[in-house]
Subunit: 336 residues, 2 copies
Amino acid sequence: MTGEFGLIGRLRRLVGSAGPQSPDLLVGIGDDAALWRLGDRIIAATTDTLVDGVHFRPDITGWADLGWKALAVNLSDLAAVGAVPRFALVTLGLPPATGPNPIELLYRGLLELARASGTVLAGGDIVRSPVLTVTVGLFGEVGVPPGADWRAHVLLRSAARPGELVAVTGTLGAAAGGLRLLLADPSGAEGRAPALVRAYRRPQPRLEAAPVLVGAGVRAAIDVSDGLVADLGHICEESGVGAEIEAERVPVHPEAARIFGPEALTLALTGGEDYELVFTGPEAAIARAADRSPVPVTVIGRTTEGPPGRVRVVGPGGKELTLTRAGWDHLAPEGP
Amino acid sequence: MTGEFGLIGRLRRLVGSAGPQSPDLLVGIGDDAALWRLGDRIIAATTDTLVDGVHFRPDITGWADLGWKALAVNLSDLAAVGAVPRFALVTLGLPPATGPNPIELLYRGLLELARASGTVLAGGDIVRSPVLTVTVGLFGEVGVPPGADWRAHVLLRSAARPGELVAVTGTLGAAAGGLRLLLADPSGAEGRAPALVRAYRRPQPRLEAAPVLVGAGVRAAIDVSDGLVADLGHICEESGVGAEIEAERVPVHPEAARIFGPEALTLALTGGEDYELVFTGPEAAIARAADRSPVPVTVIGRTTEGPPGRVRVVGPGGKELTLTRAGWDHLAPEGP
């Protein structure tokens, strides 16, 4: 097994050589969402699955939180391409012993975020499964004025250029910190660090920030699901650039810093599940984005000529930090 | 547990009361695919999941067949609403021990049908899972001429009226017969009944027949996935009508009849996985459909005033047949 990203590269080549192509497919495998042209409109589509024991543990994530989260991770993918959500299909894989009440709770959590984000629940599927799974397929739309170039109205992993600033919305490390506390003390974690636990259980996709970034002239973005370094790495791979992050500029969540001390920086760099947006752009675009964004924007580094795909994290003295784990790869043997 | 359809009804009420609504959602939960208006176009979206041990067994369904089938069941849902496929997202849930070669085989099977059906593979997700799952999200389009009423250009479960003819494409019972032979003798089944085994492993969604039905004036249809009686029952529930099937008119697959004798009728009525279309319409519409369809169309009965949701199967003497199992309900305790 070569890990998720090695396998995806292999399948991508296979699809490119053996699969049918279409001029209407604007963006396919390799970004946060697929973009498809339909007449004078552009659809964005994405899907993500949460699996019991892999992406959540029922003793830590309640049913309603699980429903919220299953939709949130998909909304975050749409935010990462600059799309507005329209409708969702939900597929539940249910162990035979599952009663109707937990499922209704799951739906209530999901519908709460659906209302908040204007996402209509349009259908789905329920199947028997030995393990609980929740899959959401989400469809949105990219607003492109008639006659305009669609590329100027989306955020892509492949649009970064060398010499741009790297910035991030909000703060990082809260969700990973919340998870760590919940694993250590499921009943006491919330009292000790409510903001961290909430960040883990009820992530807030950056749907309001995304169009502001687009309007400010930002073209390259991804959401932080696997971890800041890993996800910025995806931008670098798809864009053929390198990047350098200054560790001391990374906006660590204050509650994570209070509880975890210096280790909070590791959570912020590699913890994942923050669902913030990390993006790159020319200085003027980033300045406009920071000025207009409804959530704080922090510049954390720069893109470089290379090596392509490589993200360096440098400490206070300019010395490169070594990270034991660059992010969450679902198929890597060392994954949790 | 009230079974899949009881639970779906409950969730549907919850979504109707607590979820956001939109005038652009033309058809939501309760049909084979969701229909969404986007400007002057209509998108159709559907999703289906195959789970190891529930929907397939790896010793019986090879990897390439599994890929084919995962796309086929979704294409069949699009055919059942009269839509043309455009692009698909594929989510694999992979046990840690899965090597890259089987996954590539799976993709090759899927891409084979993607090419044959003009479906572009646009992305997806790969996650770790203790059990192998394949989820496809599929997007298509319904062709509605400018200014025309969209209802006259789709097939819906809810559009049947009393006193219509009930008809079906192709033949029934082949896939269930193939599965039965494969379970009894995995290595010998193909030699004994190649057409049945192929029907089970490589179902052919009725994408070419669907637009012909629409053009002929048919408005109500569903695909036969759970079994003829169960699926016609879904049309009856959504349309508030009853139906009567004449057992001797049901087009049993000839190879199933040869091997299973009189029991082949039970396979045809309740076996499922045929992925034919069962539909209803006025006599003239059904006659036109039969005349123009690229696959044989057989009239098998009539819709009635009621009782709503009830399907009766009558034998040669007009006597009602009792069926032990009306079809496949993934959540029913007696499911395989």
